[in-house]
């Protein structure tokens, strides 16, 4: 019998647990309000490598290794690696997977990759096709800027809605052990496009996708915001966050009192990041270092986590196409449900 509930949600029969996690961030992220919670803070953007791309790859790899060793496991014990990043042809994840030597599914969901990989990892474990699955994502401010925008030293002004790509990597080891926290539900998002064409306003492009996924989750599970201590989105930024609240209010859900966005948490206002943070690593490092820690300390019992991705490319932007977006939700619960 299928464990699907509603149109987009699965209630996991054997909820996997998050056995361990690791977070690595850049210098600027380390200077932010969550700086003390990260496992590793880089001294510079190069991480001892010759290029920023190599630095990002090394962050991905080291986060993965750290999550594995933290759980007392070996690389050979890991059945699958689900991962991705922002760069063309997901080179970070591919090159890191080359070095790690774990059976690998490469994913591209832009900044939604964290919950995309966690969803697929959770399904794989719950279906008893794996015992240990590693989910990892990364992003790097400098590699993202040169791919999507301008050279770093170029003296251009950023718009108020622009967001700052997080330099960092996060890895999460999922297993079939009986140890909280668990992943109990997943809701897979649909690609939503409300016609926003401004690549400097990705919060506005992604807010409808986040709102749609949250709404679908509530309807499928027949629960409202009250069932969660916290609802977390990945990188809507301050403007996108407000839009998501408004969109859900129209649908009859008021989530404002329990809603945070990782993009608004990682940097402080005086760090000059405009609308907030973005990037695959944004939700990964904030969730791994900050939110999971709070859950373990008993502050939150049950949360809804959504990573949000803007599925644009430089080509689509230059051709004037609008920005399709996606958000995937996972329920993280201290009880096995």
């Amino acid at each position: 019998m299928s464990n699907r509930i509603g149109g987009q949600t699965i209630k996991l029969e054997n909820p996997p647990c998050i056995l361990s996690r690791a977070t690595i961030v850049g210098k600027k992220e380390g200077e932010g309000p969550l700086g003390e919670f990260f496992d590793v803070v880089l001294k510079d953007d190069y991480f001892g490598e010759k290029s920023w791309e190599k630095a990002e790859c090394r962050m991905f790899q080291e986060a993965a290794m750290l999550a594995i060793t933290k759980a007392g496991k070996q690389v050979q014990d890991i059945n699958y690696l689900f991962g991705g990043d922002l760069l063309n042809q997901i080179i970070t994840a591919n090159y890191a997977a080359r070095n790690l030597g774990i059976p690998f599914f490469g994913l591209y969901g832009a900044c939604s990759t964290l919950t995309e990989s966690m969803s697929l990892g959770a399904i794989t474990i719950s279906g008893r096709y794996a015992d240990l699955v590693l989910c990892a994502t990364s992003s790097h401010f400098c590699t993202a800027e040169r791919q999507f925008r301008y050279p770093l030293e170029m003296g251009a002004q950023r718009s108020p809605t622009a967001q700052w790509t997080v330099t960092g990597a996060g890895a999460f080891l999922l297993s079939n052990d009986d140890k909280p926290p668990y992943i109990t539900y997943i809701t897979t998002g649909k690609v939503i496009d409300y016609g926003i064409t401004d690549a400097n306003n990705m919060g506005a492009a992604m807010a409808p996708a986040a709102a749609a996924a949250i709404k679908a989750h509530f309807e499928d599970t027949q629960q409202g915001p009250d069932a969660y201590d916290l609802i977390v989105t990945g990188d809507l930024g301050s403007f996108g966050r407000d839009l998501a609240i408004d969109l859900l209010k129209k649908e009859g859900y008021d989530i404002a009192d329990r809603f945070i966005d990782c993009g608004c948490e990682i940097f402080s206002d005086d760090q000059d990041v405009h609308a907030g943070a973005s990037g695959c690593a944004c939700s990964a490092v904030v969730f791994g270092a900050h939110i999971l820690k709070n859950m373990e300390e008993g502050k939150y019992k049950r949360i809804l986590l959504l990573s949000t991705g803007a599925l644009l490319s430089t080509t689509s932007v230059q051709q004037g196409e609008s920005i399709p977006s996606i958000a995937h939700a996972v329920v993280i619960d201290m009880n096995r449900g």
Binding site: P151, L152, E153, G155, A156, G195, I196, F239
Partner: protein
Amino acid sequence: MDGSGKGFMLMDVRQEKIKKEYQIYVKRKMPKSNLIRDCIMAFFIGGLICTIGQFINNVAKTFFQLNIEEASAFTSIILIFLGALLTGMGVYDDIGKYGGAGSVVPITGFANSIVSPAMEFKREGYVFGVGAKLFSIAGPVLIYGISTSVLVGLIYFFIK
């Protein structure tokens, strides 16, 4: 079949309406750049760069006894050098953050738009990196700058 097709059309129309409303809503609610502050900053930073240029020009004319044309070339060379140097030192992007158009329009901004991709894409090699990307930002400026000057030159030629 007819009914479902019609229903789909109706859905489509409703979806379009929701999208339009959202776009208008976003445009209205979007945090805007502070136009007045940006203009004042651009005026002063741009003015400062031009004043420095004028100073160099005067120095060239008074101390080196250069004529007007030579002094202009002398000024351009110095300003381009300064723009490139400050870009290499990682200062020009900070000036650009506050100066906006004030630091883009003068010739120092042009230097910045050529040196910054040269630095950025050095890793991809001297041919496909530096060589190919050198004019990735300045290229359009050159194309349309030169095209416009040819056009203006032609008009000038005929009405003179």
